[in-house]
């Protein structure tokens, strides 16, 4: 299957050729002859989504800093391109060189969400690689996975040679250097290399861990095959965010991507500790960057990209200790250069009115707020430490500032939820509307409050995720979810409130995959037989097909999604240590059932365990 037709001819026949043409300013081209390891960095979704991911941008640059390594980008071709590629015998290729992915040394996949697993298999197949790691030969590329889903990669364990656990900036370079070294000194065989890789800090080689099961399908044991590899793999972190590598240029997409702007990561981790949230646990401990470092990085990126927008991203931006100085430093030059500054997730009362108004996301966007639950009782249980008063305050600021749109996010089906909590969602939305009219009356005659209020309520379904306090909890059965959705719908009678809920079926499949074990690899293999891909896209997701795959593989989705896992069961991801201890998560789980909250890291350290990983500019240190 050698590529015999120039791409130009193929690209004329697809809908968005700019996704595949490459040739962007800032893409890195190297001379193959000088390179000792070629890495194909695959994002299992479209170009527009993949190009927007800051993590990928960082890893692409950090690998290419190395003179012996050439890292290239690969995205999942849309179905029209797939058709053309298959028609003309073009295998999956890398954007920069156009060379087939299967000729690379290392094929890396970033696993950002479970629903992209089908695309991993789709891309492996398009590349002409065997799907099962055990069937790939010594001269095939090493297939490695990383990203948040690697914390429980068991459902895709059979397809990968190895996973990188935790933050990859340093780890991936070390891994590739090991590969180069073993290739050069002649000691390389796939199995010898994987055994060595398993000794590196933060690498999990699934084939080197044996999993046994009990009669009732729970796990009996997870045992490493060798004495010299760790029984528990501790995740990698970047200790000092100020000194960690950050690119001073980006590859500049021609076509519009999802986040087509400068993105800066202000800190890693989250102080909050919401009990359903995986990101809040796996990125601990919280490590902040200094405002000076951030300002300098923003300036450099502005000079090298010409972007007109800077977005500060973090899980909850208002929690950053130096937010005020950072914004002042940035605004000192962004305004004059017509660069807008956006801070998604900024709380309405973060700064003075004058400073708030200089922030474009505040100026142009509506108010978004995520109470996650309808009553204080349930918000306490999930440890979402916001109150109705907080919401009303934020709404007051927004409405008085001339806004009329409010978006509220909730989650349905959380542990301990009752119909009273659900009714609370509708009541909260009504109160926001009432607040608007109350303020309107107060401001009578001053010309503001012209537009009617618009409150949109978006409700997703709870998904128990590994490494959260709720990892043991069951997801509601589908008919219960539907019942709750109908109930909510019946309560949403206010004409200023719009109600929207997520597809419960997608959430169910996500729950199966999130807490799955190795036996799910068989089901995923079936998804490829059925030609499934792009399952994170509504137009492609097909629940019945998923059920068919589970059935063919002989696995019961309810066992993974809808079962309360026992406190002392061995969990499929127990060989991974994310810093936060199981004891801590279990105590959080108990507290949830007693409606007891836990203070956040800036108030008090709750001894989650993540401090053992070290780190600079952490809350853990300040709390000591």
């Amino acid at each position: 299957m050698k590529k015999n037709i120039p791409f130009e001819r193929i690209l004329k026949r697809v809908e968005k050729p700019g996704r595949y043409s490459g040739g962007e300013f800032g893409q890195i081209i190297k001379d193959k002859n000088d390179i000792k390891a070629r890495v194909a960095f695959c994002f299992p979704d479209t170009y527009e989504i993949g190009m927007s991911n800051l993590g990928v941008r960082i890893l692409y640059s950090v690998l290419n800093e190395h003179k012996d390594i050439w890292c290239e980008r690969v995205y999942a071709p849309w179905s029209d391109m797939e058709e053309q590629m298959k028609l003309h015998g073009i295998p999956l290729y890398a954007t920069e060189s156009g060379d087939p992915v299967r000729d690379f040394d290392i094929v890396a996949f970033t696993l950002q969400y479970e629903m992209s697993y089908t695309n991993v298999l789709y891309m492996l197949e398009l590349a002409g690689l065997e799907l099962l790691a055990s069937e790939r030969k010594d001269d095939d590329p090493i297939v490695i996975g990383g990203g948040p889903c690697a914390y429980n990669a068991e459902p895709v364990a059979d397809f990968f040679d190895v996973f990188s656990i935790g933050e990859g900036e340093e780890a991936l370079v070390e891994f590739t250097e090991l590969y180069i070294k073993m290739k050069q000194d002649g000691t390389y065989t796939k199995s010898a290399f994987l055994h060595e890789a398993a000794k590196l800090e933060g690498f999990y080689v699934p084939s080197l861990y044996n999993v046994e099961y009990n009669e009732d399908n729970t796990i009996r044991s997870i045992t490493p095959l060798y004495d010299d590899i760790p029984a528990k793999i501790t995740k990698r972190i970047i200790r000092d965010m100020d000194k960690s590598y950050f690119p001073d240029k980006f590859v500049m997409p021609y076509i519009e991507t999802v986040h087509d702007r400068i993105t800066l990561e202000v800190y890693r981790g989250c102080i909050r500790g919401c009990r359903f949230c995986q990101a809040g646990m796996i990125y601990r401990p919280i490590r902040e960057k200094s405002p000076e470092v951030l300002n300098d990085q923003a300036k450099k990126l502005y000079d090298s990209t010409g972007y007109d927008e800077i977005s500060l991203i973090s899980l909850s931006i208002s929690d950053y200790s130096d937010l005020h100085p950072l914004c002042e430093q940035l605004l000192s030059w962004t305004d004059d250069n017509m660069v807008s500054l956006s801070l998604p997730s900024l709380r309405a009362d973060s700064f003075s009115k004058e400073l708030m108004e200089k922030i474009s996301s505040v100026r142009t966007g509506g108010l978004t707020f995520a109470p996650e639950a309808g009553t204080q009782r349930l918000r306490d249980a999930i440890n979402k430490n916001v109150t109705e008063e907080d919401l009303m305050h934020a709404c007051t600021v927004a409405f008085e500032g001339g806004k009329s749109q409010v978006k509220l996010y909730f989650m349905l089906g959380q542990p301990t939820e009752t119909y009273e909590d659900l009714a609370g969602i509708a009541e909260l939305a009504d109160k926001v509307v009432d607040k608007f009219f109350e303020l309107k009356r107060e401001h009578k005659g001053d010309g503001s409050f012209k537009r009617p209020p618009s409150v949109s309520v978006s409700v997703s379904t709870f998904i128990p995720k590994p490494f959260t306090a709720f990892q043991w909890e069951a997801q509601d059965e589908l008919d219960i979810v539907y019942d709750k959705q109908r109930f909510l719908e019946s309560k949403m009678t206010n004409k200023f409130v719009k109600f929207h809920h997520h597809d419960a079926k997608v959430s169910r499949v996500e729950a199966v995959l999130a807490r799955g074990d190795r036996r799910l690899s068989k089901a995923l293999l079936e998804t490829r037989r059925l030609g499934m891909c792009f399952d994170s896209w509504d137009e492609f997701f097909d629940y019945d097909k998923w059920m068919e795959c589970f059935e063919r593989a002989g696995v019961d989705p309810a066992f993974y999604a809808n079962r309360r896992i026992g406190d002392d069961e061995i969990l499929p991801w127990d060989m991974i240590d994310c810093g936060v201890t199981k004891e801590f998560l279990l105590s959080e789980n108990k507290k949830a059932h007693e409606n007891i909250t836990t203070p956040n890291c800036s108030q008090k350290c709750s001894a989650c365990g993540a401090n053992k990983l070290g780190g600079e500019k952490t809350w853990c240190k300040r709390q000591l």
């Binding site: 037709i5 130009e8 043409s21 040739g23 300013f25 076509i255 972007y307 017509m338």
Partner: protein, 226 residues
């Protein structure tokens, strides 16, 4: 307020970049001028952006060695300096042809010259003369636009054409109307030829074509647009 000086940038867009749409090019160009540090004039209003005026649209799938964009600068900078700075910020498949003070208005553009190369197993001297014949006579095609389909005779929109059989391929050099009211996309010429002579571009192994815009002329059809 400072005096703003209008300048025109001539550039190429070839190879992979034929797949970048006009809108995407416009966005790219505004980033190019910003990172090149050109003291460019911004649009007024709520969301100021570098003010750029492109002279002619270029369809996806057409390469060009003569594209133009106009903008104003608000501080002194020589044309050579602007050209050098912008050149450094282009990806390899864009090249600067030059920067100069505009000599003509965009509205004066009348024609563009294209080289259309058709590879087909049917290529022959006879086919070449057949195409000459086709393009020299009234030629009704169906033009699609937002307002629907309409029949037009494109013959008056073709100022001149020369069809040759070179190295096994048909090469058409054509000067087509660029008048804003009567813009003739070269794709229509390709389609008319393919329909008439039964060339099936679905057979991508042997049947394919490329289009290159290589000249832009004023209404007289002789003077280069500068």
């Amino acid at each position: 307020m400072v005096q703003a000086t209008a300048v025109r940038l001539g550039f190429t867009k070839t190879g992979k970049l034929q797949f970048i749409s006009h809108l995407d090019l416009a966005r790219t160009m505004s980033r190019v001028v910003v990172r090149a540090g050109i003291p460019i004039w911004y649009t007024e209003g709520f969301n100021p952006r570098p003010k750029l005026v492109f002279s002619l649209p270029l369809s996806i799938g057409t390469e060009s060695v003569c594209e133009f964009v106009d903008f104003k600068i608000v501080e002194d900078m020589t044309c050579e300096e602007i050209a050098k700075r912008i050149g450094a910020e282009f990806a390899p498949e864009m090249q600067v042809n030059g920067v100069w003070y505009p000599e003509h208005k965009i509205a004066e553009i009348g024609w563009a010259q294209y080289e259309i190369k058709i590879n087909t197993s049917k290529a022959s001297k006879e086919l070449a003369s057949g195409i000459t014949e086709l393009l020299s006579n009234p030629l009704i095609i169906t033009k699609k636009s937002k307002s629907g389909e309409k029949e037009v005779d494109i013959n008056p929109l073709i100022k001149s054409q020369e069809v040759n059989f070179i190295d096994g391929a048909i090469v058409i050099n054509a000067t087509l109307s660029c008048d804003s009211a009567d813009y003739l996309n070269p794709e229509y010429v390709v389609k008319a030829v393919a329909d008439k002579f039964g060339i099936d571009f679905e057979k991508v192994d042997s049947e394919y074509y490329s289009i290159l815009r290589y000249g832009v002329k004023l209404a007289d059809g002789v003077t280069d647009f500068r």
